[in-house]
Amino acid sequence: MATLVAGANAALTVENPGLDHVVVGLGWDTIPSHGPSAELVPFAVMCDANGVAASNDHLVFFNQIVSADASVAFSGDEDQEQIDVALSLVPEDITKIVFFVYVDPDVRGKGTFASVRNSHIRLSTAGDREILRFDIPASNMESVTALIFGELYRHRTEWKFRALGQGYTTGLAGVAKDFGISL
């Protein structure tokens, strides 16, 4: 099992021949609160060659748990959320799949990642063998309201994974703007 740092990438299918299915686990620990608390929402965006969402049918989140082509699906909560990606089913025009988490923008207090003590993204096989893991540094998160954990992307005929840990202070709206998501 490899541990990545921000910006590093890993050749998934080259180093794991025959890999056609990965489980992407997103997890975090938050400081418990009895009052209203920040609610973190995991999200996956399937991007086209322009690096933006192919359509709103290519988003996977709690209210749309399977992509239109059935290649990406929410599948479990062993981490806070697990997303299955059937690599062989991903359409050719999808060049990358971005995984991020945003703080739900509730009008009664939007919250930030300040209450998040640690977070991670990890990839494992269908048989639950962990392939790689990226523990996201928990520094300077006070104003972060959305965080890109990592992305799966095509490199020629292979699939690679890049660890990112890129924070946004503009929340879901900022991420949506960058990835062409129609809110």
């Binding site: 025959g18 056609d20 299915h21 608390s37 709103n56 009008v107």
Partner: protein
Amino acid sequence: MINRSPTPRTDLPYLRRRIKPGQASAAPSVPMIATAPPATPTSGGLNLGRPLAPQPPSPAPSARQASAGLVLGHNAPASSANPRAQKLKALREAATVMDHEVELLFPAPGIRDIYELNIQDRVLRLSALESAVGTLVVSGSTAMAWESVRRVTGGADVDGHTAGSTVMTKGNRPLAGYDGQNALVTLRHIRQLRRAIFINRGTRPMGVQIFSGASVAVPPPADGTQILVLALRIGNVLELRAEPVPHGWSDLQIWQEFDFTMTHAAPVSSYRR
């Protein structure tokens, strides 16, 4: 005591597998394929138990292939017998059913397509994303009622009076309720909501706004008619409907008309076992 019986005893567990010499051919011939107990297809482990009765040969060899416990490949594909694959299949089927449910709906405009919900434009439908992000804010309403998918029902008015039960969410916020002058629905937990209704007894219009800032107006009571907003979740989308009712109806009559029956939480006792 020596067992001199001509037939094997089956009442003693440790003798059940014992077959006397010379009598093996007398035992009913059971093909190997029939000896697999029915519970084995998904278990990859060793099973020493003997089947209680011969099973007919399975017509689907793929079901038995999954019981071959030893897999040497690191990246075994998610077969149909893999619990995760089965769960995923169930999820996909559920999502397909939900999509089908939404596909069956008649066409309706989106929140950006109309400016006002009224007698002519009576319905609009939010997208799955619009239905799930942030808060549905209804301004100008004087009372509301909600019903969760578990049929927990409650009501509140802008002056702070409440009835029925509050539905709390994981984020320690109510699923629906008033915050100051605005009626709110927590869309992060839209899957918990079945429906909500918003009443306006004031003289100003109501407004319904979503996270993107898109909004729609609802006219105030006029000509003896008041227009309510009924928010109804269908599958993964939220539909907003304008429902005209007589202006003279009380909140209670409206709840009855739309079958909102307040539920009450059992009083909490300090008794613990």
